[in-house]
Point group: C2
Chain length 480, copies 2
Amino acid sequence: MKITASAIGLLAAIPSVFGLWPIPTSHTEGKSNSQVWWVDIQVQGQSSPVVRDAVERYRNIINSESFLAPVDYKRGSTDEALGLETDESYTLDASLKAKSPYGVVRGLETFSQLVVVNTPISIKDAPAFPHRGVLFDTSRNWYSVDAVKHTLDAMSYNKLNVLHWHIVDSQSWGIERAAYSDKQLYSYKDIKDIVQYAKNRGIRVIPEFDVPGHTYAVGLSHPEIMSCLDVQPGWDKYAAEPPSGQLNIAKDGSIEFAKKIFKEYAALFPDNVIHVGGDEVNMRCWETDPDVQKHLAANKNETVESLLLSWYGKLHNYDTIVQTWIDSASVPNTVNRGYRAVSSDYQSLYLDCGHGAWLPNWDGNSWCDPFKTWMHVYNYDVLANITDPAKQKLVLGTEVAIWSEQTDEHSFDPRAWPRAAAMAETGWSGKKDASGHVRTTGEVASRLHEQRYRMVGRGVNAEPMQPLWCARNPGRCDLP
Amino acid sequence: MKITASAIGLLAAIPSVFGLWPIPTSHTEGKSNSQVWWVDIQVQGQSSPVVRDAVERYRNIINSESFLAPVDYKRGSTDEALGLETDESYTLDASLKAKSPYGVVRGLETFSQLVVVNTPISIKDAPAFPHRGVLFDTSRNWYSVDAVKHTLDAMSYNKLNVLHWHIVDSQSWGIERAAYSDKQLYSYKDIKDIVQYAKNRGIRVIPEFDVPGHTYAVGLSHPEIMSCLDVQPGWDKYAAEPPSGQLNIAKDGSIEFAKKIFKEYAALFPDNVIHVGGDEVNMRCWETDPDVQKHLAANKNETVESLLLSWYGKLHNYDTIVQTWIDSASVPNTVNRGYRAVSSDYQSLYLDCGHGAWLPNWDGNSWCDPFKTWMHVYNYDVLANITDPAKQKLVLGTEVAIWSEQTDEHSFDPRAWPRAAAMAETGWSGKKDASGHVRTTGEVASRLHEQRYRMVGRGVNAEPMQPLWCARNPGRCDLP
């Protein structure tokens, strides 16, 4: 399909700034600035509901966009003098072509960022990595449906395309059962609404039902299939965080339960990928469980680990993508064994780190100190130590993780943005420009400042990166 | 004056929770729970504009309060059955007495927190420290007038009583001149508005005009009285942060300028205390300045340090309170020399720490890592190592500092709250209860959770302290 946009423009002297985020694969800059006054977007040829929704959305975004990029703050008002010498010329047609409705969505975001800058003549753009996500944890603290949609909007401004929805955990089962309250869960209707909202923005929703660890909440309705449920005091011997509770891998009821929920929820979420968790299993929890002990006594060739592995094997035998987080070797290890990998290396991509410990009687630091700055996020190279192109292809991309033990909708925006935008660029644009030069944070700061102010203008409470003076004076707040 | 509040109450079974913050000096708990349905507050006897404003404000706060304390989430709906056995009794008059309008303001806040809990019969309350402040930096990033007022509201919910307004710095002179733009400064009208708003909440506004360091912004209009103005590259040899610039202490024009602005701004702010800064002066800046070098060549008995001291001496010879931040010895050192002290010990009270460095070409940590959790803030003892009661009296109190290099109104609330509330309690209630027991963070966590949810209900985007499950299950997320 083809979109044409007609922008009625006025040639005026505007400080040139090329503020696209993420930066397109290639572009050719135009020679003169145009200030765009009105945009109308029309679809020619075949269309689709996603495209029509996107066109309507971006028409509104563009026509109500009012943020001023920091370097433009001293721009004076437009000259409306009328006389013999008034320049009445106008121009600019932009044509947007794409192979899928979602390419259109991506292109419309770029177009929305273009309309106030030195307008390039031609952009050719495509993502370096197909999986660019946010691990969104609504189980540790509550997020309203509006808050989820707000996050999807913010993601769409950055061409992020996966919402890895960590929707249940020990602290709540926030989908239709065992949630905080009947006001704090997502009904099936809510989920369909959110999935459609995401789809309109070209965002896949991949839900996670973390098993067999992190499952205290299951014990509220199914205590008989649990191990080490809410051990008090002393949860710390049985779990990574309180309250303790894991599915009892020696009981058939636990695998029946797990298969049942995956069958039910897989039908609810249209994506062909579902996340089964497997995070932070605690071996002592099972070693001390009477049913596990009985099973091992009767099956001397088995261990807790082999029992766990066979439990996983009973749960599913689907093609598996591995999400890694625990160290730098994980991604190479995964692809070297032939599996596809998505990285959330905690050293760079865990955005919750550096906020102190959260047990109220312990004055300690966060386990994954320090705080990861946008520069640190941006500098992450998911292909580090992977030189074989065939193996590189197995790296699907990255996800920033925003674990919510200390975050909810009242603090999410500044926690997530603009740091997640930093990863959005390396995910979309890769680490290098066309000449092979690795982009540095000093070089990209101006554009990210602009993206931050753009996002604020669109209602996202992204935090500032620096003093405003520094945003307005690029390069003058660098480390010499 | 005397305030009476009539609350029409209904005896009902409500889980008992005593959620006042900060905790009063003393209280006697009542024996039965009352759920309060309507509050009317009347003033008897003498009144004042501050009192009338506060009464109106708290009447609205109380009658629109809708937050649910986390431990109450499972509370069912009220029994409206009507029959022979219905209990029709009602009671509760509360009488609030105070010696100043600001005692009334404090008492009304406590009353607003009481109306949904086990209602004490009697509270007697007074602050341990007279200075309990927020160092509010509107110079590194911009805050609208509404954002300033919003912060004053949040402070009033915590009985904080000083807004230390860091209103100018190198990066902007946000008051009537040299501001970011003519839309981003505080006019004298704005300031009077804010000062009155603060006064209604019993909050003093103490402005700071930091001299002679941190004054690049002065150089925009008075370059002739400056030293080391905007050295690029290499600002880091001449200043703690970019851009560099200090008042030239060898030029009479600099002291004339400083005296002029203090005279002008002292007339604008009614408090009898004004903050003259003196922070982070860089000696090399002056050592390399030609005017300073000329002065020292002609005055061989002087040094840069003595020149600086005599500059301060020319600026003012008023009674001085010292605000300390740099180490634990500062407070004892100050009071042992007979000066009054206000502490912002960075190790506990700098709330901006732990957010990484902010120079875009340097992937580093914040200089004052790690992040200070609410527990760490709460554990701070400003009287540590000061045993002489006469010296203890010289400690006026504490201020949390929220430096804004990486914060503005889009991220301020979660950055400040509820951590500043932790300091608000130690400032109002002291470290110990009446028996001499030092309150621990494990003991107070429930009440602070409740204060956090109360603040959220009142429109302050305080961040969550823990997973919601932990807030609802006190003691079950403690470190064993």
